[in-house]
Amino acid sequence: MSFIDIHGLKKSFGPVTVVHDFHLAVERGEFVSFLGPSGCGKTTILRMIAGFETATAGSIAIDGKQVAHLPPAKRDVGMVFQAYALFPNMTVAQNIAFGLRVAKKSAAEIRTRVGEMLDLIKLPDLGDRYPYQLSGGQQQRVALARAIAVKPQVLLLDEPLSALDAKIRVSLREEIRALQKDLGITTIFVTHDQEEALSMSDRIVVLNEGRAEQVGSPFEVYNFPRTRFVASFVGTLNLMTAVVVDAAAGRLTLDGRDVATAKPIVGRRAGDTVTVALRPEAVNLGDGTARSDTLPGVVEDVAFLGAVVRIRVRLDAQTVTLDTFNQPSVALPKQGEAVKLTFAREDLLVLDGDA
């Protein structure tokens, strides 16, 4: 049995259903991200786990205990909000101490625990400051300390980084992940930023329109997206249409050229139109090897992005974008030049759903 078990969870607001039949099992100590665009239901699921929203149907169990009927305080979860939500009338120390004070801990115990927490978030000298005297990053660290000071079993993070500057976002996400590993606390992290989800998580749940499109490790989700939505939301992808020639052998035609995948195409027959995906970094210029395919095309555009050069190539009817490292020693193709594209068969992915 998993530590958090979510079964058949559904949420409707009047006639609008925002979460459909959601299932998830989270192991103890795991870091799981809910990734999706705004309105995909990720925050609603988190708020149902926290107890701020009542599920229309389904069950949530934490550590084997059904929590659906319990108020937030009885679920043994901690939460960090997007907009910090520090109590503005209290100092940093008072904020961190809040949950302990409510639980009627002794003054000495509270003092010790607050001290530990301040050290943990590396703000040992700021206990007497008020929230408005802190930067956004500092405030969010205090919010984190406030949530974990009461030692909850589960930590819920609702887009905690999205209000911060890009630089602080990166450093704080590393800090949060390190802290989570140290404490071994089971964590659910809601975000719309694929980079955050990929860099922090043990597993990612990609959500779209209230449904889980794919659940998997960052590696799986990035390299083997199962649907067109996951492919387009996680990273940049070339999406093209192709026609199946031989499903068992993984052979297709793309703009009239023969290509192949490494695996058989499941659930498709010859003549079906499918969506195929190629990562820009998986495509190279030049002739291929035996285990790769080659497509001819014409360079439409060359764009410098610093370390990477992005080249857009037109095939017959579709375009492919490819990324190559910017190496001054290697000459780049010019606009209008005829080139050959090559990619390994493992990198050509056939996606679920209609093309």
């Binding site: 939500a85 109590f87 503005p88 949950g99 409510v102």
Partner: protein, 295 residues
């Protein structure tokens, strides 16, 4: 900073001080002539005899029992209508902002408050006379339908209670208008964060809600107090000169020197400025405190 001024001095408002100040001169001239000097005239006059000699006699004469009584009734009515208006207004504003009512309630309440807070003065007095006066609709309805004679209980619209009840008509909406933005500043997440950390509704209000809100609450109450304290028309139209409040005393003094001492009249005005001034300064200070938190 130290650029040569000759180059830019002729551009309107460039860097030369006189030019820039010229732009606000009409405003300050107006303020001095029609706001500051007239007030200063009275303040200075409060410390002078009729011949222009310095004296504290006028200030001392303010302790005359009838003047003290006028101040006291004014302060009591203003305080009662301010506190009553603040409590009822705060409850109404809270019901509209956080009560889970249909969404049309709030704009309706705000528009109505905008109207009612400006519906003061003589017409308001008429409205209450037509409602709670001896032949008013409510008085009549109470005796006709419930057999309850309002005026037999000693109630009188031209009294402390009556005037307070009338003032509430513009005090409550004013409170709603001032407090609604402050209530909007109470973030939903504060409540949720306290909930998830185990706090009850009472603990939330005790430790977070009220501490965050109290500068706004207290400040607004002070503003309501000053608002009622300076009111003349409602009271005058309602009670004539039968109720001895300080604005009506001053009104009578201006019309006919009932105190038989012009300079005592100035001192009376000075006392009013001090009272409304203190409550307004406190209001501004408290608002500053409230804004510090609501970032």
């Amino acid at each position: 900073m130290s650029e040569p001024s000759t180059a830019t001095a002729h551009r309107p408002g460039g860097s030369g001080l006189p030019w820039a100040w010229f732009g606000v001169a009409p405003f300050f001239l107006f303020a001095v002539l029609f706001l500051i000097l007239p007030t200063a005239f009275l303040i200075v006059g409060a410390f002078q005899t009729a011949d222009g000699e310095f004296t504290l006699a006028n200030i001392r004469d303010l302790t005359h029992p009838s003047i003290v009584a006028a101040y006291r009734i004014s302060i009591e009515i203003s305080a009662a209508s301010a506190i009553g208006g603040a409590i009822v207004g705060a409850l109404l504003a809270y019901a509209a902002v956080g009560g889970g009512l249909p969404s049309w309630i709030r704009p309706t309440l705000m528009t109505f408050s905008g109207v009612a807070s400006n519906f003061a003065g003589v017409p308001l007095a008429f409205a209450f006379l037509a409602t709670l006066g001896r032949t008013g609709l409510v008085t009549w309805a109470l005796s006709n339908w419930l057999g309850f004679n309002l005026y037999a209980t000693g109630f009188n619209l031209l009294s402390f209670l009556g005037l307070t009840l009338t003032y509430l008509y513009f005090q409550i909406p004013l409170m709603v208008l001032i407090l609604t933005p402050a209530l909007d500043g109470l973030k939903k997440e504060w409540r949720e964060a306290s909930q998830i950390l185990g706090a009850s509704t009472f603990q939330y209000w005790r430790w977070i809600g009220l501490p965050v809100l109290w500068p706004s609450l207290l400040g607004a109450t002070l503003l309501l107090f000053a608002n009622a304290f300076g009111a003349v028309a409602t009271a005058y139209a309602l009670t004539g000169s039968s109720l001895n409040i300080v604005t009506i005393l001053l009104y009578a003094q201006i019309r006919g020197d009932v105190l038989h001492n012009q300079n005592l009249g100035y001192a009376l005005a000075l006392g009013m400025i001090l009272i409304t001034g203190v409550s307004n300064v406190a209001y501004i200070w408290l608002r500053g405190r409230a804004e510090r938190w609501s970032r």
